[in-house]
Amino acid sequence: MSAFIPLLTTLLPVLYGLAVAGYVRIYASEPRPADSEGESFGHHWAPLMLRAAVLTHLLYLTSRGIVEGHLPLASVYDFLSATGLSLAAVYLYLELRQGIRTTGIFVLPLVLLIQIVSSAYGADAPTLKPQLQPIWFELHTLTAVLGYGAFAVSAIYGVLFLLLYRDIKANRMTFFFRRMPPLETLGRMNVTAAGAGLLLLGLAILMGVGWARLAGVSLLSDPKTWLTIAAWLVLGFAVLAYYRLGWRGPRAVYASLAGFTTLILSRFATDLFLQSFHTFR
């Protein structure tokens, strides 16, 4: 099986690349009326390529997990790859749910870039750090990474929402305007992805807290934990406001973007400036 992994490592960027080419073609072609027959070639093969890429990605990470004896999250390149999978999988879920393919161009090039970097530089798997070795800590890391991916997709849809909102307000029927789904749909995609991220990051926080209690580690002095919980609460409020308070429009989107920004800042702040055992350096 270990001989199989380099092949998958090379195959992944190729598959994502083909999918991106297809989604570029979908975006470049004029949207067709609902009653028209036939679609361009890209409309058929791009989603197929994406499915193939996601399945191959799963196979790749599973194979590495079996060969290495732990989840493949030992290096920054592994984290990148898992985040890429999360982005692609959440996007694919939204595409299948909403039947909209014109937004793939805004998510998948990021996945391609991430996977190119991961495949190019992450070939030599390092040994897993001791603090990452218990299985449910591994799961904590995995769910956190998947959650980050889902929040990133949510943020992308949030930005698309704001751009389309601006075009409609200004009465501009641009190239972008014609290709975007309705504003209401973009808002729903934004909050659906945020909901998935909320669930995954919530699990990650619970497992992390559980592990810390068992390991006798105090989280009170860990700024990343507090910042992540703060971000989770902001995002939780954004999702709650959408479903329970009926928030719609820019206000709901700004709330989810604020949560995502807090999450990203917490990540960078703890890695760059703050002392936190979460950095694992």
Partner: protein
């Protein structure tokens, strides 16, 4: 894509007609032909004009007569006289300027342009394609059309379908009311569960309501100063009637507000909208102000999640859409040229059929005669194998010349000259004609030369 050169063909098709560009509405109205009148016109074209096939396209924007193979010296005068006879309108004098005449290849190209909506009052409008289909069905039913016109219409309709799916010529709103519906769908998604408040009961309000109804809206409210008129209008769309004074109250329950009154002052104030937005928890609310002077205070456009589009804004969308449609004309014309060239190849292949069939028949007859002559020299049990052998040799010898002949006839303008040379070379009798079948090799010498009468 460059235009394909249309090689000379033998369709002999003319078109005489009038449309919205050449004639006023009153004339066009007076010349709309019903089914019975189309039947009379086709009969006259066939019997008095000697046309082998005829088709009449009569809509509110055009009446056009297409006929092929007719022995008519002056088609325009013939059609003018026909219309006078059927509709009682004299187009022989000064009114004759309303009529245009196209002969090949312009008549073919004109038909394709009509089917694709390039000749329509609203560029790219789709109804004309259905009307061309109906004209063909009627011609088939009345015995006016034949294989060539049917194939021609088939090609024109295929062009129209391609134009609709491969270009943007039929896309985008062409009226302010419809642009408003498109915007509503862009903001709110599906309109099926949305509520529309129509303020006013005039023509514009009615048009907008009809477009929203067609887009799937079922919940309407109508507010109008005159109760009676509001009730009569509301009945047409199943709407609830409210007074103008109740607008601030019902505003919170609407998702789209279409306003088209003649009020000299705004009737929807910012304060009312602010209040409504608070009640509706800031859910999006779209205003389409179709009135002049405006019915809605422009300042509401600044409110978050409130979308205000007045006639100027909607007019810009329509102008963008029309400009986009105009920009697509070259693409549609390229499609027309492709389909026209394909049709003409088919038509030239038809002319080849008798020659190819006669050519094969000639060689096979010679082979059969020789076999018969030498029959006694072979054992009876070898006859079948011998037949097969000779037949095989003939087929192999003929394969290349017939393939080349067919290709030359289809693709080259001098194909007919080559056919004549082949006929002369092998002493094949008869002249090239048009078959009813689409299969180029299906005919035989005996039935191949007749220009078939329409059904």
């Amino acid at each position: 894509m460059s235009a394909v050169t249309v090689a000379p063909s033998t369709l002999d098709l003319f078109c005489v007609g009038l449309n919205h560009e050449t004639s006023p509405l009153a004339v066009r109205d007076a010349l709309v032909l019903d089914d019975e009148e189309v039947g009379r016109a086709i009969l006259a074209l066939r019997e008095r004009g000697g046309a082998t096939e005829a088709l009449i396209l009569s809509t509110c924007n055009r009446t056009e007569v297409y006929a092929r193979g007719a022995a008519i010296e002056d088609p325009r005068a013939f059609v003018a006289s026909l219309l006078r006879e059927i509709k009682g309108m004299d187009l022989s004098g000064a009114e004759g300027r309303f009529l245009y005449t196209y002969r090949e290849p312009d008549s073919l190209r004109h038909l394709f342009r009509v089917a694709c909506g390039l000749d329509s009052q609203v560029l790219g409008e789709p109804q004309i394609t259905g009307q061309v289909k109906d004209a063909l069905s009627l011609a088939v039913k009345l015995g006016g059309s034949g294989p060539v016109i049917e194939r021609l219409l088939d090609a024109a309709l295929r062009s129209a379908k391609r134009a609709r799916t491969e270009t943007l010529v039929g896309r985008g709103p062409v009226s302010s009311a419809y642009a408003g519906v498109n915007l509503a769908a862009k903001v709110l998604g599906s309109l099926a569960d949305k509520r529309v408040l129509i303020v006013g009961a005039g023509e514009m309000a009615s048009l907008a309501a009809r477009h929203f109804h067609e887009a799937g809206v079922t919940q309407f409210m109508v507010a109008n100063r005159g109760r009676e008129r509001a009730e009569s209008f509301a009945a047409t769309i199943g709407a609830r009637v409210v007074t103008l004074e109740a607008i601030p109250v019902v505003l919170a329950g609407a998702d789209v507000v279409v306003s088209a009154t003649r009020s000299p002052h705004p009737i929807i104030a910012e304060a009312a909208v602010r209040n409504a937005m608070r009640i509706r928890k800031n859910r999006p609310l779209l205003f389409l102000d179709l009135a002049v002077p405006r019915d809605v205070e422009p300042s509401i456009a600044r409110l978050p999640n409130v979308f205000l589009h007045d006639l100027d804004a909607l007019g810009m969308l329509v102008a963008q859409s029309l400009a986009q449609r105009h920009a697509e004309i070259p693409k549609v014309e390229a499609i027309i040229e492709e389909e026209l060239a394909r049709f003409l190849r088919w038509h030239r292949a038809l002319a080849l059929k008798p020659t190819v069939a006669a050519f094969r028949s000639h060689f096979e007859r010679v082979a059969r005669e020789e076999l018969e002559r030498h029959k006694g020299r072979f054992r009876p049990e070898d006859q079948a194998a011998l037949d097969q052998l000779v037949h095989g040799i003939v087929q192999k010898l003929l394969h290349r010349p017939t393939t080349r002949l067919t290709r030359a006839g289809e693709e080259k303008a001098d194909g007919i000259a080559r056919i004549d040379a082949i006929r002369d070379l092998f002493g094949i009798e008869g002249s090239a004609g048009v078959e009813r079948d689409d299969e180029p090799d299906a005919g035989t010498e005996g039935d191949a030369n007749a220009d078939r009468n329409p059904r």
